[in-house]
Symmetry: C2
Subunit: 413 residues, 2 copies
């Protein structure tokens, strides 16, 4: 199992015992889990016949005892070959893949970090869990808490999509709807985690939590027969997922599972109404200027003050990527493009990724020989309102054959 | 690949060329695909390293050329070990599994039959597809049609859940909302398929379509290391899925992949507001009396005149099963039971299955040593209205720590 050596400060490298700690005492930097990579004996064959979930990579996840794993069988989602979309965008068949995380158990990629964090909460003997959420994490945390028989507290802005609230409530979570932004909800969750013996998955369990998202890198590479793609398009909110994907790539190299990662580009996709990381990248700045009032249909990406923003920014530079910020109209169009060409129905975050890809292709920043993977991180059923205005209306008819047959016209007949 | 020998009448055994035909000229019985099982060379090892979708069983699916497969990577969904639910119901840990088809690409089991039927439409060179639908099939057909670049016509009653309509529209389907019941929509679809060169997946493509649902039996058995469970609980609408699961079991035996299927029981679950098959079973009748006006929250099961009803009924007797018909309150409670104990969020059809299981356990009709598999066929995000009244409301608070901290009470602290 994944034996955690220590928590290490990402900035000053100070090390700590692996507890609920998440901020460095010395410099206030974020803490990351470290492993003794030399003791991890894995090869490509290790994984070949393992379970079809992200727990197949348990040596690289921070849970010491298998009995503590809380699994809903998330992960190992389809890597969907997108030839129709490639053709529509002007890319070559076989060169575009979509990592379809809309089919996770709670219908977003958040089952990865939430499942790891709730497992860690069980391993630590905590009696309650919770999260600060833009919506998807609420359901992922609540469902894993249900499976683990732990009470769960959700802190979220009150204007998130109702489907996401209802889903989290169905799993039995206590839903605290903050009359403010995600950043307000996150601040309150942090204060609660200081005051109460609760594991807030993306606050005091954050060093463990972020490890779950590394599996988005492992799986893509394994599903491509251990080939590293040339370009990853990653939707970004806090920046944690993008950073974790990059860390996952580095680990694959560290463990000799791939030959090299020097040629892979990593690109960030944010929505125009909340794009602090993209702004900093395009402005060639090292600092993130928070967005006070996010305003976009991509609510799951609407984090104005991204916790891992500066690290995501460094990763974009390290991996020679780009940053794009399509507007709401581009996002809506991309949702429908994806649905109509590939049969994948995503929430706006996935639309942000596809719209950014479209921009890169149109600007000639993606070479036709590049192998591109675009991450589709959430499910369209959670945000139907976002596209409602663009859909044709159903045609309502009386149940008479003659009325209906005139509506059917088939080309070439 | 799956080489279809013929279409054979389920009643009089008359055989026909494998075309778009679906009703026997002699006796009006339904037609089924037949294969030359002797020529199918498969063993358990054949499947071990195959793709993680139901297409891993392509020798047993009616598509001759791999190039014609239209795949969204559906199937091979988790077989979820449900120890918490087992405990809550009074079953033994390790004896209850849930086949979680809510995580298919369009979020219901219908991706199985629809994907096979749209592939067959491509193989036959058809220029359009469609379906009669209670909702889930609309999206499954529309998404596969999108991937196949075929126009798609949906015929459905106008009162189905809006999420299902919106999803099908997002994939680009033409949605014809019939002001009537599912049976009206189905009748019109059948008339259209007689008049136009269109493949209606569950009408004139039905012999191929139903083959997709056999994979619900194959996968469960393979995921249990080729052990046949003792009892299957199957939600039932038209009866086609239950019949296909039973056929799948018979094929596994025919092909020597399992030692025997004599001890497996198959139980049907319908909602009280539309339970013609359960009524016939409980009344010990051989005929199905159609329900003229279905009235249940389980809209995806609301088929008043089930096309495969008498065959489902025969299967229940062949496989020594039961039939149950929980009411809407039981269904709602079961949805929440499943969500709160296992972290799986299902639509009412899954609630019907779990509520029926609960009845069987309470009545002592499930032995504590039995290995039970319950089929969860669809996704709760499509029918949030069904449980809305039972959910606690989110607690809306100002973003002040002091207001929030009083809401958090953790046991034992």
């Amino acid at each position: 199992m994944g034996i955690v050596n220590a928590l290490r400060c990402r900035e000053c490298k100070q090390e700590y015992e692996p507890t609920l700690k998440y901020i460095c005492d010395e410099c206030l930097g974020p803490l990351d889990v470290t492993y003794d990579y030399g003791s991890i004996k894995v090869s490509r064959d290790t994984f070949a016949n393992r379970e079809k979930s992200y727990w197949r990579y348990f040596e690289l996840l921070p849970i010491a005892e298998k009995a503590n794993i809380v699994s809903l069988e998330a992960g190992f989602t389809p890597l969907h070959r997108a030839d129709r979309l490639a053709d529509a965008l002007g890319l070559r068949a076989g060169n575009l893949y979509l990592k379809n995380d809309s089919v996770n158990p709670t219908f977003s990629f958040k089952d990865r970090p939430a499942g790891v964090a709730v497992s860690k909460a069980r391993e630590m003997g905590l009696k309650a869990v919770g999260c600060a959420s833009t919506g998807n994490l609420a359901s992922a945390t609540a469902a894993h808490a249900a499976k683990a028989d732990l009470p769960c507290y959700i802190f979220a802005p009150k204007d998130i999509e109702y489907a996401k609230i209802a889903q989290a409530l169905a799993y039995g979570a206590e839903f605290i709807a903050v009359d403010g932004t995600y950043d307000d909800a996150n601040r309150i969750a942090a204060q609660i985690s200081d005051a109460k013996p609760i594991g807030i998955v993306n606050v005091n369990l954050r060093p463990y939590y972020v490890e779950g998202s590394k599996t988005l890198a492992y799986e893509v590479v394994e599903q491509l027969n251990w080939k590293v793609p040339d370009h990853l398009i990653v939707p970004v909110a806090s920046g944690a997922m993008l950073n974790a994907i990059c860390r996952g790539l580095e680990e694959l190299y560290e463990l000799n599972l791939v030959d090299g990662i020097d040629n892979v580009k990593v690109t960030a996709a944010q929505a125009k109404g909340c794009s602090p990381i993209v702004e900093a990248f395009k402005g060639n700045r090292d600092e993130i200027v928070p967005v006070e009032y996010p305003n976009t249909i991509a609510k799951s990406l609407a984090i104005g003050d991204p916790g891992d923003g500066i690290y995501a920014l460094r990763r974009l530079r390290q991996f020679n990527g780009y940053a794009e910020d399509p507007d709401d109209d581009e996002i809506r169009d991309a949702i429908l493009l994806l649905a109509r060409y590939e049969g994948i129905f995503t929430e706006p975050a996935g639309g942000v990724a596809v719209a950014s890809l479209k921009r890169l292709v149109e600007d000639g920043r993606i070479d036709k020989d590049e192998h591109v993977v675009c991450y589709i991180t959430g499910n369209g059923l959670k945000s139907i309102d976002a596209i409602e205005g663009l859909l044709r209306k159903p045609r309502i008819v009386k149940p008479n054959y003659m009325d209906v047959v005139e509506m059917i016209s088939i080309a070439g007949t």
